[in-house]
Every structure is written in structure tokens, then in C-alpha cells.
């Protein structure tokens, strides 16, 4: 049952989202992480490397001395990678179609954080370990819960995709930021024929920038309970809600274990909305902070973010109810009711203007096309705590030995080596 829930969640909030946003992925601002590039360049000539979850294939051209192949579940992205001349396949990381021990190295860059249960994440790592030869190395990058400026309250989140094209002024800003980038960026840009090369400084391979002509950006983060906790049958209130909401696959509003009693009886699965906020474009795209949004969101916000709980009070909970009801077809402008809470001074009028602005933005694109994608493009992420990834491997994947762990631009990274297991 958990399996089904997990795979449905991932289908709705990972696979289908990437299918939709794939076209934007390619003309957007994604660069290869320098340390990943270095990992690839350090490989012995004649090595065979697999990029599991290769997306548009941005790592597949690095190092001509090694044979690279990539795979992904997203057809449009895989098609694009193939169009760039790479060997790619469609497949699922939970069941890799490669024989045992055939790779010298494996990459998993910003992939397994899309898996919604711990068990699935472990399975994915084990599959990659299986395909590695003894002595081969695996590099994993996942989004970190701890960002430079703040830490997320929860680990399981839904991130909306904002495809709003950049206005020309924003584009200018982006180029300037790009100019201040590291050497690796310069190297990237010299490779002109690759369309995927970006000039942006946005962290990771996710696009979190959006531009609003009115110099404001709206971000929304949805926190959720992890599927693992939803299926914790030791917690009766949780299981009651979850059994009723299996079809919606949304978690109950109950926050931490401590406060569950007060909210347990809700009986509705909901994605808890955490915030929306406005921030100037200059803040966007900081390499140090994947979730720039979050830093600003807690500035001057009225709800009690506190320790681990995000109890926004009954008002926002009521809002959350209405939001969740339409979750499948959420459009960002619909979140106006919540904005009302945080724009007390603006009152109802500005709401209307807000909405209009939203709609105007979408039609104001320089390219002139409607690039509006609604917030049904919510991507699920399990962001990792410090040490979590390494622990996962050390405790659950005997055939891997962690050799390096580090923090890189808002990601937790691990390099592990496949070891020979001896059965006594």
C-alpha cells in the first residue's frame, strides 16, 4: 500500500511535472556542478559511467575518454539528451536495467530526493551499487535541508514550478550575475554549441527564479508529512486520516508528533501551505541558497514558524483546506486568499490587482507566448538533513563505503565506493 502511494505520489509530483516542464528545462539556467565535473574528469580513461536520472544530459558530454550513458524516466528530457548525441535510455532508478558490476562510476545528481520514502531511497542506492564494479565509485547529490541562511522546518516539501519567463531587465541582471561567476561557469559558457549551457547563477539544476515585472516574486512552499510518517500505524490519528485520504495522497495537517492530538481529528489530508512572500529579483538565484525563498519568507512574516511546527493558526488552516481541495489543478493566482493574511495593509483591493498582475505577467513574456504552467506542477522533494545521506548508506547499503561527504551549493553530497562483501 505504501509502495502504491509512494509511486503514485512520485508519478503525480515528479514524473508528470518533469514531463511538463522539460521544454523549459532545456532553455533554462542549468549548469554542471564543478565538483561533479571534476569527479568525471578524474575517472580513468576507458571507464564506463552511468548517470542515473540524467535529465537533459548535461553531464554526459564531460570527459571524452570515458564512455557515458544516461537514463531517466522523463521522455522529453531523454529525447533532448539523445539529440545532443548521448547514449540514453528510459528507465526507473528503482529497477535499473543494467547487469551487475558493469560500471566504473555512477552519478546520481539531484535525483533520489524525489523518492518519497526512505525505503525507496535505499532501494535506489542499492540498485546503483549493484551496477557498480568493486572499487567503482558512486556520487550522489541531494538537496539539503540546511541552507546557508536558514534551515527548513520540514523535510518533505512540494515545490512549485515557476516558468514565468524573464523580462528583459531580469535577463540583464542574470547576465551580470553570470559574469561574476566562477571559472567553471566560464568554461561552461565557452562550450557554445550546447544549448543547455546557462548564464544563470541559479543553484543546482532546478529553476527557482522567476521574474516579475513589478519587481516582486512569489514563492510558495508546501510542507508535507513524509509518506513514511503517514504510514506510521503507531500513531492512530495519523492513520485514521491517511486511510481516508489514500486517494489524495496528501498528508494530514497534524504537524509534529506533539501537536497531533489537536489536529488529528481533521480527517482530511492536506498539504500544509507554509508561505508566500515577495522578494526582489536580486535576491533570487543566489548560489548559496537553493531556497532563497525561505530566507525571505521568514522575514516579517506573522505566523509562528518556531521550532519544528508550522501552526499557522486556524485562518491559514482554513485556507489550506480550500487549497488542498483543488490541489490537482492549483493555479498560483488561486493562492491569493493566503496572501491576504500577509498583506493585511493591502486589503481586498490589492488582491484583485495581484491577480491581474499575475495574469498580465504571463502574457507579458518577451517571447510573446503563454508560458504559464499552473501549480499542479508541484514537485515533491525530500530534503536531506546533514549526515542523513551518509547514514542511509552506512546503515543500509553494506556494499558501499562512504569515502567523502560534503556540502556543495545547498546540496549534501556523498561519494561512496563499492566494496566486496564477504559472506562468512
Amino acid at each position: 500500500m505504501m509502495e502504491e502511494a509512494a509511486s503514485q505520489l512520485e508519478r503525480a509530483h515528479v514524473h508528470s511535472v518533469y514531463d511538463k516542464i522539460a521544454p523549459y528545462f532545456n532553455d533554462s539556467r542549468y549548469k554542471a556542478w564543478p565538483k561533479v565535473r571534476q569527479f568525471l574528469l578524474d575517472l580513468e580513461p576507458g571507464s564506463i559511467v552511468a548517470d542515473i536520472g540524467c535529465g537533459n544530459g548535461k553531464y554526459l558530454h564531460i570527459n571524452k575518454e570515458v564512455f557515458k550513458l544516461g537514463c531517466d524516466v522523463c521522455r522529453p528530457l531523454v529525447d533532448f539528451a539523445w539529440s545532443q548525441g548521448h547514449e540514453v535510455q528510459m528507465c526507473d532508478g528503482l529497477r535499473l536495467p543494467y547487469r551487475d558490476g558493469c560500471f566504473d562510476a555512477v552519478l546520481s545528481i539531484a535525483v533520489i530526493h524525489h523518492l518519497s520514502t526512505k525505503e525507496r531511497r535505499i532501494r535506489a542506492i542499492r540498485e546503483m551499487a549493484r551496477t557498480l564494479r568493486v572499487g567503482g565509485r558512486l556520487m550522489i547529490y541531494v538537496w539539503a535541508m540546511e541552507q546557508k541562511r536558514r534551515k527548513f522546518e520540514k523535510q518533505d516539501i512540494f515545490v512549485p514550478w515557476n516558468p514565468n519567463p524573464q523580462s528583459t531587465s531580469e535577463h540583464g541582471k542574470t547576465r551580470r550575475r553570470a559574469a561574476a561567476q566562477s571559472v567553471s561557469e566560464a568554461l561552461d559558457n565557452s562550450d557554445k554549441h550546447r544549448k543547455v549551457r546557462s548564464t544563470s547563477s541559479v543553484a543546482d539544476d532546478e529553476d527557482l527564479t522567476c521574474s516579475v515585472p513589478q519587481q516582486r516574486t512569489q514563492r510558495l512552499w508546501f510542507f508535507s508529512r513524509s509518506l513514511d510518517s503517514v504510514f506510521d500505524f503507531g500513531n492512530l490519528t495519523v492513520s485514521r486520516s491517511s486511510s481516508r485520504d489514500m486517494s489524495t495522497l496528501l498528508s494530514p495537517t497534524g504537524e509534529s508528533e506533539g501537536s497531533k492530538s489537536s489536529q488529528g481529528g481533521r480527517g482530511r489530508g492536506l498539504i500544509k501551505q507554509v508561505s508566500s512572500f515577495f522578494s526582489p529579483p536580486s535576491v533570487i538565484g543566489s548560489e548559496e541558497d537553493v531556497f532563497d525563498a525561505v530566507t525571505d519568507l521568514h522575514r516579517g512574516q506573522t505566523y509562528g514558524g518556531g521550532g519544528g511546527d508550522n501552526n499557522n493558526g486556524t485562518e491559514s488552516q482554513a485556507v489550506s483546506v480550500s487549497l488542498a481541495q483543488e490541489c490537482g489543478s492549483l493555479a498560483l493566482p488561486d493562492l491569493v486568499p493566503f496572501q491576504k493574511e500577509h498583506l493585511k495593509q493591502s486589503g481586498g483591493e490589492s488582491e484583485g490587482r495581484e491577480q491581474q498582475q499575475q495574469q498580465q505577467e504571463s502574457t507579458k513574456s518577451p517571447q510573446g507566448d503563454e508560458r504559464q504552467v499552473d501549480a499542479s506542477c508541484l514537485r515533491y522533494y525530500h530534503v536531506f538533513r546533514e549526515g542523513e545521506l551518509a547514514e542511509l548508506i552506512e546503515n543500509h547499503v553494506d556494499e558501499l563505503h562512504v569515502t567523502h561527504t560534503y556540502f556543495d551549493h545547498a546540496n549534501w553530497c556523498v561519494v561512496a565506493e563499492k566494496v566486496q562483501l564477504w559472506k562468512i
Partner: protein, 123 residues
């Protein structure tokens, strides 16, 4: 799909124990020119399942008299390396399918991309 890739692929249908190598049923094959790097080819050879490679090459009609068993001292045999190079990197299956030798399940290849995604009941 190049044959070097094919050499790594196996059927991962649940319950299948002998899902390698996959049989190739090609309806469209292309031969591209790829820069010959003898060291590269030399290094790849120990990493491939030789008999699976020869079988795949044969299925596509590109065996070019490659031996059933690897020759000794192949590193210095440029002619041999060139043949291996062609078979590993230049021959590409664009359309067709890969068939699991045990279950018969077919994995389609379209536009050069094998689709190895399994259905719910096969996982």
C-alpha cells in the same frame, strides 16, 4: 543504441534470472562514423561481455569475422581494434526492440532510445 550500451543492458523483469543478453530485433540500423581511438577501444574490451557483443553484432549483420573468443595481444592489433570500434561505437540501432531471453518481454527502441520502463505487474 550502440552495441556497447546493449552490452550493459539486461532484462530486469521480476522473477527473471537469465535476462542477459537481450536479443536485438532491429528494424532500423545506422552506421555512423566515430573517431577511432585505439586506446579507448582497447580499454573497453575487458569491460564487455565478449560473447554477447559478438552475438549482437551477428544479429545486426555486422560481425565482420570477429572471433568467438578474444585474441591474445589484441591491444596491438589495430585491424582487430578497428573492427571492434565499429561494432561497439559505430553501429546503432535506431528502431526495433530488445527481447528478454527468458520471459520474451520486448523493450521497444524508438529514435535510438531503448525504453526499459517496466509495467506495474512486472516490477
Amino acid at each position: 543504441m550502440k552495441l556497447l550500451t546493449h552490452n550493459m543492458l539486461m532484462s530486469h523483469v521480476k522473477g527473471v534470472t537469465k535476462g542477459y543478453p537481450l536479443l536485438i530485433k532491429a528494424t532500423e540500423v545506422k552506421v555512423n562514423e566515430v573517431e577511432f581511438n585505439p586506446q579507448f577501444v582497447s580499454r573497453m574490451i575487458p569491460k564487455v561481455e565478449w560473447s554477447a557483443l559478438v552475438k549482437a553484432a551477428e544479429e545486426l549483420g555486422h560481425r565482420q569475422d570477429l572471433p568467438a573468443e578474444l585474441l591474445a595481444d589484441y591491444e596491438k592489433n589495430e585491424e582487430f581494434l578497428k573492427k571492434v570500434h565499429k561494432v561497439l561505437l559505430e553501429v546503432e540501432v535506431i528502431e526495433g526492440c530488445l527481447q528478454c531471453p527468458e520471459s520474451g518481454r520486448e523493450f521497444p527502441i524508438t529514435k535510438g532510445i531503448p525504453n526499459m520502463l517496466l509495467n506495474e505487474d512486472e516490477v
